[in-house]
């Protein structure tokens, strides 16, 4: 009995970890863990989820005090992968419906976590294209669009490589901002019809934490205050690092050439 409880709980925690690491909302993670544990005959389940860690405690009705268990899982990296969220969501629903055992579910979760997703070069290209389209929405012309596309693909590459070499996000996003600004400065001084800020918009929009800001406010409204604050802090740090990178390059450019910002 003890072993079965433990395997269900480990499975629930693992499902929660995958959800949280791939950008699911806080309430969804808490819900999934609670439902999985409850379906294993644990009447008392408390899940406390923050963006940096998961705390779960379970107990059975009428059991002796030895059966209460608490697990903590530390989460260090977060990104967005909706495919994994969708798959884990589906799996948890099947598990709750009773068509899976805990071990089978655990094996499926391992497969889900290992799934590579779309290849990076495709994501960089498509991401670059849609970021450049953003600058079109801000009124860019064709040349600006092409340069923004180039800048965005380069920013994507720089940030991704630095993230993979496990630099802190502040440093990798700082480098991303610097890259976008350098490309924009070079392009605008070489080609007269290119406006600086439109290229920068297109370049950094992939990094900019818009969804994070919205999720932070959403969590705060829903009462998950700690998640809200944590996500807000993360968004602020990312925005600051990008702005710092861009701002530094622009300052240096102004000092060297004595020009004005277009």
């Amino acid at each position: 009995m003890q072993n079965e409880s433990k395997s269900i709980m480990v499975m629930a925690l693992y499902a929660g970890e995958i959800l949280l690491k791939n950008g699911a909302e806080t309430y969804r993670v808490e819900d999934t863990i609670t439902h999985i544990c409850q379906s294993g005959n644990h009447e008392y389940v408390e899940a406390f989820v923050t963006p940096t860690g998961i705390f779960v405690s379970i107990d059975q009705k009428g059991s002796s005090s030895g059966n209460m268990m608490t697990f903590i899982k530390r989460i260090k990296t977060r990104s967005i992968n909706l495919e994994k969220v969708s798959q884990v969501n589906d799996l948890s629903r099947r598990f709750v419906a009773g068509s899976l055992s805990a071990t089978e579910a655990m094996n499926e979760l391992k497969v889900i976590e290992k799934a590579p997703g779309y290849p990076f070069w495709q994501k960089a290209l498509v991401g670059g294209l849609s970021s450049a389209l953003f600058s079109v929405l801000f009124g860019a012309n064709v040349v600006e669009f092409l340069i923004a596309f180039m800048a965005s693909v380069m920013v994507n590459n720089v940030t991704n490589n630095m993230d993979r070499a496990s630099f802190p996000i502040f440093i990798s996003h700082l480098a991303g901002g610097v890259t976008a600004a350098v490309v924009a400065v070079l392009a605008s001084s070489l080609i007269p019809m290119v406006e600086l800020d439109k290229v920068i918009v297109g370049g950094v929009i992939v990094l900019v934490p818009g969804v994070a800001v919205t999720n932070a406010i959403r969590d705060s409204i829903a009462g998950d205050l700690i998640s809200g604050m944590a996500k807000g802090a993360e968004a602020l740090i990312i925005a600051t690092s990008i702005a710092l990178g861009v701002g530094a390059v622009l300052k240096i450019w102004l000092m060297l050439l004595g020009g004005t910002l277009a």
């Binding site: 909302e25 819900d31 495919e83 969708s86 969501n89 929405l137 818009g210």
Partner: protein
């Protein structure tokens, strides 16, 4: 004509970001449709009211509404449709502008961009929360009314869960 072009661009942007966020391929077209209709509502509201914040609110409301419809069709979680859909509204560039103004020591501009970012973010979050809460309320009622379902569902529904976003494990629910 301008509007059509803009809608097309927005559609492509959503496709692209949905791809970057690794959304399942089958859901891309629907996320694109939801986002474009949302953007249309945004443009129309802006014509009438002239306020970015109100238009963002109505646009997001539309996206959430359509997302909910697609969710019941496809049995995929709501996030898959909503996160790519709200990308054009989301104030990512606003928060970047705020910090850039601070770095350049232009504090009035920083306050301007900062408040704008906060309120746009608030209106998106509010629209999503309102939509999900109404939805949740509806499903809870339905689960409570339906007899003969598993007792677990009933218990959960009748418990009167005070977390407004928790959707009970009813057979029709799509968390």
């Amino acid at each position: 004509m301008m509007i059509l072009r803009e809608l097309f661009v927005v559609n492509l942007i959503i496709y692209g970001f949905a791809f970057v966020f690794n959304a399942p391929l089958k859901t891309l077209p629907k996320a694109g449709i939801g986002g474009s209709v949302g953007w249309l509502v945004y443009l129309l509201t802006q014509q009438i009211t002239g306020s970015v914040i109100i238009s963002t609110f109505t646009g997001t409301l539309m996206i959430a509404l359509l997302g909910d419809f697609f969710t019941t069709q496809d049995r995929k979680p709501l996030t898959v449709f909503i996160v790519p859909g709200i990308v054009p509204f989301v104030p990512g560039f606003g928060i970047y502008n705020t910090m850039l103004a601070m770095v350049e020591q232009d504090y009035p501009m920083a306050v301007h961009h900062g408040t704008n970012t906060f309120f746009v973010g608030l209106s998106i979050a509010l629209a999503l929360t309102i939509m999900l809460s109404i939805n949740n309320y509806r499903k809870t009622k339905k689960a409570a009314k339906t007899k003969g379902k598993s007792p677990d569902v009933l218990a959960h529904a009748l418990e009167g869960n005070d977390d407004s976003q928790t959707i009970p494990q009813a057979p029709q629910s799509h968390r």
